[in-house]
């Protein structure tokens, strides 16, 4: 068993969804139940392999890559099929493994128009491969390929199954991300040649850049290319404008995957690639990243206050939350980066949950205009409580997962890594703390307008279904985890801290 996992575990986990997708392609479209079952079984199979990997993971050595596979792939450009998992990647892989089956369960009888479960589920499975592949890749070119595989399925998911403005939103999403990745690949190549490398292996490149002392200016320029590539994906202010459109227009399932996992590819890219390989570049860019993160926090929060559409509001709240993650990363300390990774997982669970609820509301009321909603607690009390609970988690209430993403990130800015301006980061800390107040403001106001009071006249006499079975199955694991991680944050911190410590030492120079 252990041998199998060592040699094939990761490969099987990453490519099993693709196998499922190919099988589904061969089955006629009319067999809808079969398609749903197959997709669910595949994603659960992937989750089982992932769980076995996690169980066999040697937690005492979580700073090291485990289950490493290093096979020849593209000889001619020296790119290799190198995959492995360490403590930084593990939480995000587990998050992906959890979210994908839940999304498929939620889809069971919630397929958006034009239904077509076959195509929809195939796209989700392809996404699964792309996301997992990005988190395990240890070779820059392999990472790039997986990073890009994610684009097309999401493009089609938004464009085919999305809302009114879906065509605009889908192409905007695509062009923004493609722009980022085009600059990213140029910087990867520049790095390869400037360092005189013989491999795209991330660990070896990091060591090589250290020893060969690549000039600081060069590092700064290359980091700039990566910054744009990953920053668009996060998204950081001012590259965030694709996000509200994409989230608002995407079908519920698309929004959930986008919020829960896809955005993390950007922040993960910073932690996995940009910081360890280019520490000098990172130190130069850190104040800028921190500043933009703070702008994002405040701007996102203010934009939330102005939204009239619930889904758009949640989308802007993502901009603000990812701002905390980026602030944590910008401090370049192990405290901040641990908080950032926790923030990624927490944001994935909480915002994913918010999008689930928003999707269910949209299905019942056919609108998400906040002014038309109201009295949810009266009409569908369970859903009202779930929304309230998630909103509390999102605003960072202690005892729930959201708190451990935000609070340590803010705190870490008090003591940034040596070499960074303490005064500036303490100012950032102040701004970010202000953001939490605003977050409480817009979330509570949202909750008050949608859940309190009595239903508006147009819906007053309609019978509204409360949370259904498929919804409970999809939501409960996430709700439980939000509480669990809130009480036992050590679950995530324990996974990441060793690996992050190694990274932070490298950053401290």
């Amino acid at each position: 068993m252990k041998d199998f996992l060592n040699d094939w575990g990761i490969t099987a986990m990453v490519f099993l969804p693709l196998v499922g997708a190919v099988v589904m392609m061969l089955i006629p479209k009319a067999e809808e139940e079969l398609h749903k079952t197959l997709a669910l079984v595949t994603s659960l199979g992937v989750a089982v392999i992932g769980a076995l990997l996690a169980l066999n993971f040697d937690w005492d050595k979580s700073a090291e890559l485990q289950f490493v596979v290093d096979k020849s792939w593209i000889e001619v450009i020296k790119a290799r099929f190198t995959v492995g998992v360490d403590g930084i990647a593990m939480p995000l892989i587990l998050l992906t493994l959890l979210v994908v089956p839940l999304v498929i369960i939620y889809s069971w009888n919630h397929f958006p128009d034009p239904v077509n479960p076959k195509a929809f589920l195939i796209l989700i499975l392809v996404l699964d491969t792309g996301m997992l592949g990005s988190f395990v890749a240890q070779d820059l070119i392999l990472f790039f390929v997986f990073f890009e595989i994610v684009l097309l399925p999401m493009y089609f998911m938004i464009g085919v199954w999305g809302g009114e403005e879906r065509q605009y939103a889908s192409i905007k999403f695509f062009l923004y991300t493609l722009f980022g990745s085009a600059l990213m690949i140029v910087s990867f190549l520049a790095l390869f040649f400037v360092a005189g490398a013989q491999t795209f292996n991330m660990t070896e490149l990091a060591a090589l850049v250290q020893s060969s002392e690549v000039a600081r200016t060069t590092q700064i320029l290359i980091f700039g290319g990566m910054f744009i590539g990953f920053g668009i994906k996060v998204p950081m202010f001012p590259f965030h404008t694709w996000l509200p459109d994409a989230h608002t227009q995407a079908p519920t399932q698309g929004s959930v995957i986008l919020a829960a996992v896809l955005l993390k590819l950007g922040t993960y890219g910073f932690v996995r690639i940009a910081l360890p390989i280019l520490p000098d570049g990172a130190r130069w860019w850190a104040p800028i990243i921190g500043g933009l993160a703070c702008v994002g926090i405040i701007y996102g929060a203010l934009a939330c206050l102005a939204q009239t559409d619930m889904k758009r509001l949640i989308a802007f709240s993502s901009v603000a939350h990812m701002g905390y993650v980026m602030l944590g990363i910008a401090t370049l300390t192990d405290f901040g980066i641990n908080a950032a990774i926790f923030g990624m997982v927490a944001h994935g669970l909480i915002t994913g949950m918010l999008f689930f609820v928003a999707g269910s509301l949209k299905e019942r009321f056919h609108t998400l205009e906040i002014s038309r909603l109201g009295g949810l607690l009266k009409q569908a009390p369970h859903m009202g409580w779930v929304l309230g609970f998630t909103a509390m988690a999102s605003l960072g209430l202690p005892g729930l997962a959201g708190f451990w993403g935000e609070f340590p990130a803010i705190l870490s800015a008090y003591n940034p890594a040596p070499g960074l301006s303490v005064g500036l980061f303490r100012f950032y800390m102040f701004v970010a703390a202000l953001g939490t107040v605003l977050a409480a403001g817009y979330l509570l106001w949202l909750y008050q307008r949608t859940a309190f009071g009595s239903p508006k006249d147009e819906f007053a006499h309609e019978h509204v279904h409360d949370v259904g079975t498929a919804e409970w199955i999809a939501w409960l694991p996430m709700l439980v985890l939000i509480v669990l991680l809130g009480f036992l944050p050590v679950i995530i911190f324990g996974m990441t801290s060793d690996a992050v410590e190694v990274l932070a030492q490298a950053l401290a120079g």
């Binding site: 001619v76 464009g159 192409i171 062009l175 493609l178 190549l189």
Partner: protein
């Protein structure tokens, strides 16, 4: 008078040149099939139509056999005093042309049989043009290059105007012809200057001669510029691209596919040989010239493509932009010769597969819609999901999205540019990066129509795709996907092209 002249001529005994027939076998096979088809057509007249597409396809595959045997044999061969060379570059490209020709034959057979066309003669033209291309792969001499170029171009002019009673097709042929002749004239002028200065038509000797210091005269510069400009027309680089959209739109679509892939590739093959064997000594001329052509082609091609409503015109402008991507490695041809050469050849192979695939889908769809407008492809996902996925693969590959072939093509270009480690190289790499983003927008327009829009007339009867088109699609899509997932395949063919450069060095 004549007698006295003859008497002055050196009295050398006649020596028959040693001809390596194995090296010439691909060309000989093609010539033999041209003759056979001609005879079959003359004898069987109308009945011949049934055999000739099959014979043409067979011709392409049959001449692949000696290509493969030569490749297995390994050693480079040089004939006719170095004017005709068979090396790795030449073999890889010959194989590409023959397979592309085979796919074009598959694309043409139903199209011609169902339309009002002369059939047998078409295949004769196709094979003759193919012969020119296969010769071009081995031509290392100005005269051989020119003869090969004319041999591949003249049948193409005819094929472009093959739809005799269609004004657009006539216009296509005429424009292509006039521009082509103009370009040939420029090129010949440049070649004559080169011959005048260097006293040789052999590229290796020209290369050695212009690398010397005193050769940096304006005349050499002018000659190089003229020759490159001449081929600039052939590969439809901006600002010599104006014929391409009209010709592509007017010509019968299989011919367009042929022009866009094979004919353009032939222009690149000639450029590869001229630049990497002949002109490497004068990088001060070649690199800036190619830099400008590449940047202009991709930017202008992409920007105009954004406004197109016809899918064939869109592919024409996308082809201009793709030509820009392929020209980009030439801009670092001297600083980083090996990578640049690999990049161009790899791009050509992948481009052939993905672009032919896109044309195959366009031909299949227009069998039903009788239209080339993008809007006519609306709702394709609803009634022809297979074709939609095929087109999506081709367009996404053209846009350079992993894991499809196009990403590796773009990647090797990036690699060549960044590995040169010059400011010009980095700037061009960023221009390429920005352009590949712009390009996705118009490929996205087609995707959008197919996936998101409803069928414009509400007619959702499925499309009957003939076997020949299905096979053409299968070949091209398989190649596009395989090249993307296992780029090592391409690397296997293009990783060892140094033989060509050793001529330049020597």
């Amino acid at each position: 008078m004549i007698a006295t002249l003859l008497a002055q001529a050196p009295q050398l005994p006649f020596e028959a040149p040693v001809v390596d027939f194995h090296a010439l076998a691909p060309q000989i096979v093609l010539v033999a099939f041209v003759a056979v088809i001609l005879v079959v057509d003359v004898i069987k007249l109308e009945d011949a139509k049934r055999f000739i597409p099959g014979l043409t396809g067979l011709a392409m595959l049959a001449s692949l056999v000696p290509v493969i045997s030569l490749a297995l044999h390994g050693a480079d061969r040089s004939l006719f005093g170095g004017a005709f060379v068979v090396d790795n570059v030449s073999l890889v490209l010959q194989a590409m042309f023959l397979l592309a020709g085979y796919v074009v034959t598959l694309l043409s057979s139903n199209y011609l049989a169902e339309g009002d066309f002369w059939e047998s003669e078409f295949y004769l033209m196709l094979l003759s043009s193919m012969l020119g291309m296969v010769v071009m792969c081995s031509a290392r001499d100005l005269v051989t290059i020119f003869v090969a170029l004319e041999l591949l171009s003249i049948p193409a002019y005819l094929m472009a105007s093959w739809e005799k009673r269609n004004l657009r097709s006539n216009e296509a042929g005429l424009k292509y012809y006039l521009m082509g002749v103009f370009a040939s004239a420029l090129m010949l002028y440049g070649m004559s200057l080169l011959f005048g200065i260097t006293g040789s038509t052999l590229l290796t000797e020209i290369g050695a001669s212009i690398a010397e210091a005193e050769s940096s005269t304006p005349i050499v510069t002018l000659a190089i510029v003229l020759v490159v400009v001449g081929f600039g027309f052939k590969v439809s680089a901006v600002p010599f691209h104006t014929w391409a959209p009209d010709t592509y739109e007017g010509a019968p679509t299989p011919v367009t596919a042929f022009l866009a892939v094979a004919s353009k590739a032939a222009g690149f093959v000639a450029l590869v040989q001229l630049v990497f064997v002949g002109f490497l000594g004068r990088t001060d001329v070649v690199e800036p010239l190619m830099w400008a052509l590449a940047a202009a082609s991709m930017t202008v091609g992409n920007l105009i493509a954004l406004r197109q409503t016809n899918v064939v015109r869109l592919l024409a402008y996308s082809g201009i932009a793709q030509a820009g991507f392929m020209l980009a490695p030439f801009a670092v041809s001297a600083t980083n010769a090996a990578d640049a050469l690999t990049a161009v050849v790899s791009y050509l192979l992948i481009y052939a597969a993905m672009n032919l695939g896109a044309f195959a889908v366009v031909i299949a769809v227009s069998r039903k819609t009788q239209s080339g407008e993008i809007s006519s492809m609306g709702g394709l996902f609803g009634y022809a999901p297979g074709l939609t996925v095929a087109m999506t693969i081709c367009l996404a590959s053209l846009a350079g999205i992993p894991p499809l072939g196009g990403w590796f093509a773009k990647f090797v270009v990036f690699r060549a540019l960044t590995a040169a480690d010059t400011p010009a190289g980095y700037v061009l790499a960023i221009v390429v990066a920005l352009n590949s983003v712009i390009a996705f927008y118009y490929y996205g327009l087609v995707l959008k129509a197919m996936w998101f829009s409803p069928e414009p007339h509400g007619d959702s009867t499925p499309i009957k795709v003939p076997v020949s088109l299905v096979s053409a699609l299968a070949i091209t899509i398989a190649a596009t996907v395989l090249f993307g997932v296992f780029p090592g395949l391409i690397g296997h063919f293009t990783g060892n092209l140094g033989g060509l450069l050793s001529f330049a060095g020597g």
